[in-house]
Amino acid sequence: MKILVCIKQVPENMEFLHVNSQGTEVIIPVNMKYRMNRFDTHAVEAAIAIKEQIQETVIDIITVGPESSISIVKRAMGMGADNGFIIPDDSKSYSSPSDISSQLASFARDKQYDLILTGIMSEDEMNAQTGQMLAARLGISSITGIVNIHLMKDKIYLEREREGGIREFLYSNLNKNQTILLTIQAGINTPRYPSLSALLKANNREITIVQSTSSKEKNDQSIIQIKKSEKLRQGVHLEGSIEDKARKFIDMMKERNVLI
């Protein structure tokens, strides 16, 4: 089985971000550490779980991003993936999912993957589009929001989450000539921590730099402005010591007539 997992890096901590004075981009402090997008860690773990079940599985990891993204590729390899690739993208301007998916497609096309996995969305841009768009560009099926993968004989069984606790139970024959793309929802598994020795080994592995062959299309969308998210309700702040706040809170709740 040949699996590709698409991952991206996100800032380790969202708390210290702010917007530049022109309101055109999110400023990430220079000393900010980056980590793998949480949903992508679940995708990597899902791929490794398959590898543990089916011998001769090869897992490729790809990311599109600045060169610093190499560290998340190495982490995925420390978790158990085989080969790492990066498509360098240092552009300061926003790359839309359409753009990223086109770069990923130029890499994945003709590589005959059986499965392509990626997180359901990224924690920073939160588009939840890139996987589906990659599938559209490759002309393959994509199944979104997967919360369970189970292999038996030559079939793959999938569980997709829908609203209100409804689940769809799906299956497919594992067929050499048909790639399936899955976007992975959190909750499918618990991503493993790579052991120190595995991390050290991964650190010495070569990450292949792939130059994107897809021509950069004219942006399909442009960002007009970014700002601190709007207040939808004008909240009252309780001030004072914790005791003051607690007393005031209880009084307010009494007024609303909700206490027992």
Binding site: L17, K218, Q221, I226, K228
Partner: protein, 334 residues
Amino acid sequence: MKKTKKVLMIAEHINNNLSPVSKDLIACANSIGNHMPISLNTILIGKKLENLAKYLSQQGTQVTLIESDDLKSESTVSLLDIAGKILEPYIRAENPDIIIAGHSSFGLSFLPQLAIHLDASCITGVKKITKSDDKLVYTRFIYNGKFDTHICSQKKITAITVLPGTFSSKITDKTEAGVIRHLKAKPVKKGPVMIENISKPANTDSSLDDANVIVAAGQGIGQAENLEKIRSFSEIFRRSTIAGSRPLIDMGWLPYKYQVGITGKTVAPDLYLACGISGSSQHVAGMANSEYIVAINTDPNAAIFNISDLCIVDDLLSFIDKVLEITGLCCQKI
């Protein structure tokens, strides 16, 4: 005179009922209508949906019912996996300016792919639409709800998904039932993934629907054991229950039926207390319509405070202890 924009909505249904997000689609379309003249058409894919079509047609939209032989009762494929293929030829013929779907498992299962095939710009999780220089500006959350980004489409067709609960849907007077068209979809080429069955909704405790007060816990409670404290806190309120945010449920701290948010339950109690919840858009979409919202969080910049009526920046567990201590004393006095 300004050119009328053609707006196409893709409505959702489940168990022969319109999904709640269908209301959000109409509210979103009406918001576009505040900026420019629009013509509305709503698509429903499926069988025996005449009642739903009639209801929709009374909301000021034309309705197109698309029936597909690929979705017979013994269907072997999920609607989610062929909806895009069913819609594509129809949308090409219709040539809309804006396509609106829900920010839901259904909408997200086909809209990004359609956008690629139709050379459209795809903007997901839209929560507000304004106009600047004669162009529509779409607002969506980024960075877990910390920032808003305002986006303009550079393509002729714009495909958007609407974040539930963000467009105010004041009940408009029903209009005369509009035109309902019936279409038969061309058979589509199916993918390799088949459907075995669809589970019933998780056995939802009706307690979330019935409660006047919901005390919801997030990752900020630190560890599973602290849920007991949340439970005690909820017990000082009348007709109350507890709930949790997605990360908490994923970690197995609470069963699925207690999840509030986009993939869980949508609630609107009289009082919602968000305890240690950061306020990601995924969570907010499930509780934004609550009557009164209280947030307790140590991070003064947490996005949850943007939607709260009462903001308490403090250590959650110490605050709850204090409240329990004081209410305990009050009770003794009586």
